[in-house]
């Protein structure tokens, strides 16, 4: 093993360790933090980054050590980063809907409700009310 390879290995190992740590922290946060909204922070960030590191490590490993092109990890990482905010948004909304009363939330400051609490948001297009007959 030449020097270059050793550095590469150290780098990959470091990525793995960092990734593992973040992953652990994310899941640990899930246990430690007190309420649901707090817990939501842990996995959305720590775990996502943890798995991201592991993925990059993997990509580096295959490309630099095994000599195989491997871009899938990048794709997975991007996908996770793309979806994490949506997931968090939905879980937050679900939690608010189930467990937090509207009165306990700060006002929007613009006179309208927060969307989750706004019961009037039913959108109706009479033209489309005919059954969508498309067998």
């Amino acid at each position: 093993m030449n020097g270059m390879d050793a550095y590469i290995e150290y780098a990959i190992s470091a990525l793995l360790v960092i990734g593992g740590l973040f992953g652990l922290v994310g899941s640990f946060g899930l246990l430690k933090l007190r309420d649901t909204m707090q817990r939501l922070h842990a996995p959305t960030k720590a775990t996502t980054v943890g798995v991201g590191s592991a993925l990059i490590a993997s990509m580096a490993y295959f490309m630099l050590i095994e000599g195989k092109t491997s871009w899938h990890e990048l794709l997975i990482t991007l996908f996770l980063f793309l979806t994490a905010p949506i997931t968090a948004n939905f879980i937050a909304k679900a939690h608010m809907h189930l467990a937090i009363r509207e009165e306990d939330m700060p006002a929007t400051g613009v006179g309208t409700d927060w969307a989750t609490y706004d019961p009037e948001m039913e959108v109706v297009d009479p033209a489309l009310l005919e059954p969508v007959q498309r067998n």
């Binding site: 996908f79 793309l82 979806t83 905010p85 949506i86 948004n89 939905f90 909304k93 809907h97 309208t112 409700d113 969307a115 989750t116 609490y117 706004d118 019961p119 009037e120 948001m121 039913e122 959108v123 109706v124 297009d125 489309l128 009310l129 059954p131 969508v132 498309r134 067998n135």
Partner: protein, 954 residues
């Protein structure tokens, strides 16, 4: 051949009355009569030979392997019976023409009558006991129709069912008996069986066979204790009674005893069973007949009594007694048919058969009186009528029979029977015809036209003729018949005078005298009879049948009450028990395959799965949570597949699991969100035990399998070896799916396609007017709904994720043949991507922007798959033979163009179409439940700073 024709004619003719009835009643009767007459004529053509002592055979193979053949033979006994059946049948047809009223469907009647006649002729001509059984049961069925002919009468219905039940049951017993007999002899041909007396009587199976066959005979011939059905069968129209209970149906039992006499009779078993039954029946029925006020009931019990008499004679087991039996069969047929017809005339004219309301008809109906009286006197055994002759001979035989070491029982009881017979016969005459003319008949009587009395008159003429010149008129027939019954030459010498030393004379005189006394003192006896408690057969029978049927209903409805959870429990226990039994009774050695070491992380995965599974049992009443937990289980299984070298499975499992959960979520929206606690702790415990044992069994089985090697080299070796060179793909699993076992996959996608069109059809049914539709229209969400139906973040993210996901779908599809992937997974991936789009902006919004015919997708998928299969035919290869080649179209991605890939395209389309069609169906249900369709992809317009809803929608 002509024998078969004789038997077949009535059946063939049975089609005619129904047709001819349009031409009128006379035509109908004429046709029926002609058919019968033709059969009788054919019989007559055969008669001379039989009388010469020949036996005529006709053999037609039907089911040789079973030994059931259409073999007929005609001997003296057959000739006698067939003659009676057809001859009296002809008279009945004549009589019925005038008896039946305008409202009675005559065509039906004659059809039934001919069916019955054919069955009877079949019985007496059969030379094969299985064939005989066929006809035997046919008499039960056709008599059921005849007895129940007057459908409006409850008595008719009940009588018919009772007759069917009793005679049918006896018939079934007889089937067993006959099969035993056939098995002893090795043939079901009667003529063969009749030659094997030794074999039969020495067999261990003789007694069972005897009892079973006699059960058939006794029920049919209304012997004690099965006699009770016969009087209730009197609800039938009189022609039916006259036919069934004089010459035909009830005589079938006698016929069979006579027929089997050569091989069954002569043993103590035979004697004690048959003679005793006959004796008891004779006396008992005669006694009952004394007290019956209904003319037909009286005649019915007299019939039972006379049948008992004949049975007794056959039971004696001597050739002489059997000869007398034959003679009495003839005599009874003549006078009893005449009597029934007379009773019918009385009923027809006076509109009553109640002896208490009759009397004095002698002057009003002189012809009827003459006929009835002569017949009744014959029944009473008054000389010189034919009844006298045979009764005298019967007494003579009885006088010499020792029963259980006692010389007196038989003669005394026989005399008593005769005495009763005299009494009821005289009562029939006296209380109906004699005495003063009354003025309170329900209908003013007079003699009917000749059409109605001609038949009984003819029979009475026979009564007299045989009575006067028995040797000329009947002896020849008795001779041949008795020869046939006994299987030996018998000497028939019928005479009026047996001499003073004959005990029969004195017994007979005693009977006549006693009969007169009994009749004179009838009122007193009647009072005694009425005061006596006596078991009524009908209520008892009804009680038995109805309790049987109630019991059956109880058992049936208790067992099959729709409680599927119990069905499941029983099924599971059964399966587990059978599997354990199979294992314990087999041999087993433990496997020697080395185990894989347990690693830490897979162990954690195992733990996750175990905990999730336990959680699902604990929390299952919270349905949403249940679905979340299913997600975990699906995930761990999927990872497990990946770990154990099954990448395709991992892909499939996870995508199917998500699709399943989404479907269940969609359904759960309309279902209760909680499952109530309904079962008792005890029940839950037992369920847990059942589940635990079964699961344990499966675990042990799986462990045993995993830890051993295959007993034989597996066929998968071939797949591994040929996947690349012959199948053209490196993903062996995929090559198996689309090639080696592509036919499985073809079936599998068809299942998916059917599932989708089923769901569609079901949705259509639900959305039609009905409770489901009403419930949907009135549906109110059972949970609070958040405001933001289509959150902007998801919508925007989906704009990017959907195209990427579609691309992933294409990728997975294209590489499936060589790497994990393939049509099915690709179809699901694309489906899931679309589901994401639906969740973002709603199904209807999405569907409105992309018109896809889901039905067409499914059908096209199946058709493409089928077409790739069929395509091989044009290469001269079998269905689904694939072809492949590595094509390198310039500039395009290098992939292999295998027909298997086209097949996989079919798979892809079907999966996509199926999921889409199911989702579309659910969306329609949601719309019916009040969901609305949005105009914009999301509900908030940030550019305007407002909700889109309020202005545009309302």
């Amino acid at each position: 051949m002509s024998l078969a024709l004789i038997a077949a004619l009535p059946f063939l003719g049975a089609l005619l009355p129904g047709l001819m009835i349009r031409a009128g009643k006379n035509a109908c009767a004429l046709v029926t009569g002609s058919v019968t007459a033709l059969a009788l004529l054919l019989l007559g053509l055969n008669a001379p030979a039989v009388l010469r002592g020949e036996v005529i055979h006709t053999r037609i193979d039907w089911i040789p392997s079973l030994g059931l053949n259409v073999n007929f033979f005609l001997d003296g006994l057959g000739l006698l019976f067939a003659g009676m059946i057809l001859g009296i049948g002809l008279l009945i047809i004549l009589y019925a023409r005038f008896y039946l009223s305008k409202s009675d469907p005559m065509g039906q009647f004659y059809t039934y009558l001919l069916l019955f006649q054919g069955a009877m002729v079949g019985i007496v001509l059969s030379d094969n006991i299985l064939l005989l059984l066929v006809f035997w049961e046919l008499t039960s069925l056709s008599s059921f129709l005849l007895i129940g002919y007057w459908k409006h009468l409850p008595e008719g219905r009940q009588g018919a069912r009772m007759a069917l039940t009793v005679t049918g049951a006896g018939g079934l017993a007889m089937i067993a008996g006959m099969l035993i007999l056939g098995n002893i002899v090795g043939s079901y041909d009667l003529s063969v069986i009749l030659e094997n007396k030794e074999a039969i009587q020495s067999s261990d199976w003789y007694l069972p066979a005897l009892i079973l066959i006699l059960l058939g005979c006794f029920t049919k011939s209304a012997q004690f204790p099965f006699h009770f059905w016969l009087p209730h069968a009197m609800a039938a129209p009189t022609p039916v009674s006259a036919y069934l209970h004089s010459a035909t149906m009830v005589k079938a039992g006698l016929f069979l005893m006579a027929r089997m006499w050569p091989v069954l009779a002569g043993t103590p078993e035979w004697f004690y069973i048959v003679a005793t039954t006959g004796l008891v029946t004779m006396v008992m029925a005669a006694k009952i007949a004394l007290f019956k006020d209904d003319l037909k009931a009286l005649l019915a019990f007299s019939t039972v009594s006379h049948l008992g008499l004949i049975t007794m004679l056959l039971g004696f087991g001597t050739a002489e007694a059997a000869t007398v039996a034959v003679f009495h069969i003839i005599n009874h047929a003549t006078f009893k048919a005449a009597l029934f017809m007379s009773a019918g005339i009385v009923d027809h004219e006076t509109h009553t058969r109640d002896i208490k309301r009759l009397g004095g008809l002698r002057t009003l109906m002189p012809i009827t009186f003459a006929i009835a009286t002569l017949a009744a006197l014959s029944m009473a055994g008054i000389p010189p009528l034919n009844g006298f002759l045979s009764k005298e001979m019967m007494l003579e035989e009885a006088a010499h029979v020792v029963w259980g070491g006692n010389r007196w029982i038989m003669p005394v009881l026989a005399t008593i029977g005769a005495l009763f017979s005299v009494a009821y016969s005289f009562r029939f005459i006296a209380h109906t015809f004699l005495g003063p003319v009354r003025d309170d008949y329900p209908h003013h009587p007079h003699d009917p036209g000749i059409g109605m009395w001609a038949a009984p008159a003819f029979l009475v003429a026979l009564v007299i003729l045989i009575g006067l010149v028995p040797m000329t008129a009947a002896a020849w027939l008795v001779q041949v018949a008795a020869n046939a019954v006994t299987g030996q030459e018998v000497e028939v010498y019928i005479k009026h005078w047996h001499g003073l030393e004959s005990p029969a004379l004195w017994m007979s005189l005693l009977a006549i005298g006693g009969g007169f006394v009994l009749l004179a003192t009838h009122a007193r006896w009647l009072a005694m009879w009425n005061a006596m408690p006596r078991p009524e057969a009908k209520p008892m029978f009804d009680a038995v049948i109805s309790s049987l049927s109630h019991l059956a209903t109880r058992i049936t409805d208790r067992l099959h009450d729709g409680a599927i959870s119990r069905y499941f429990a029983i099924g599971t226990v059964t399966i587990a028990a059978a599997a354990f039994y199979a294992f314990w009774t087999g041999t087993h050695t433990t496997g020697s395959r080395p185990l894989l070491p347990i690693e830490a992380v897979p162990f954690l995965g195992w733990l996750a799965m175990v905990l999730a599974t336990i959680a699902i049992v604990i929390f299952h009443r919270n349905r949403l949570l249940t679905l979340v937990l299913i997600g975990i289980i699906g995930l761990t299984i999927s990872v497990g597949f990946a770990y154990f070298s099954a990448p395709d499975l991992a892909l499939t499992q996870i995508s199917v699991e998500v699709a399943t959960v989404i479907l269940m979520l969609l359904a759960l929206n309309f279902l209760p969100k909680q499952t109530p606690q309904e079962s008792s702790p005890m029940r839950r415990f037992s369920d847990m035990a059942v589940a635990g044992i079964s699961g344990f069994g499966i675990a042990v089985l799986a462990y045993a399998l995993m830890t051993r090697d295959f007993a034989f080299p597996t066929i998968a070796d071939y797949h591994i070896a040929n996947s690349k060179p012959e199948g053209g793909g490196t993903n062996i699993v995929n090559v198996i799916l689309v090639d080696f076992r592509g036919y499985d996959t073809f079936g599998e996608i068809t299942v998916l396609g059917i599932a989708a069109i089923l769901i569609y059809a079901l949705t259509e049914a639900l959305l039609r007017a009905g409770p489901a539709n009403d419930r949907l229209l009135a549906w109110a969400p059972d949970q609070r709904r958040a405001g933001d139906r289509h959150p902007m973040m998801l919508v925007v993210a989906t704009r990017l994720i959907l195209p990427i996901a579609l691309m992933v779908g294409v990728f997975i599809f294209l590489r499936g043949h060589n790497m994990p992937g393939g049509g099915f997974i690709a179809g699901l991936v694309v489906s899931i991507a679309l589901v994401m789009q639906y969740m973002a902006s709603g199904f209807a919004w999405t569907a409105a922007r992309q018109k896809v015919d889901y039905h067409a997708l499914i059908a096209a998928g199946v058709l493409i798959a089928a077409a790739t299969g069929v395509g091989a035919w044009f290469n001269g290869m079998p269905f689904m033979t694939s072809d492949f080649g590595y094509v390198h179209p310039p500039l395009v991605e290098e992939f292999e163009l295998a027909t298997a890939a086209i097949f996989d395209l079919g798979v892809f389309l079907t999966v996509l179409g199926a999921v889409m069609l199911s989702l579309a169906s659910l969306s329609r249900i949601a719309l019916r439940a009040g969901e609305t369709v949005n105009v914009e992809p999301f509900d908030i317009d940030p550019s305007e700073g407002r909700r889109i809803a309020n202005e545009e929608a309302r």
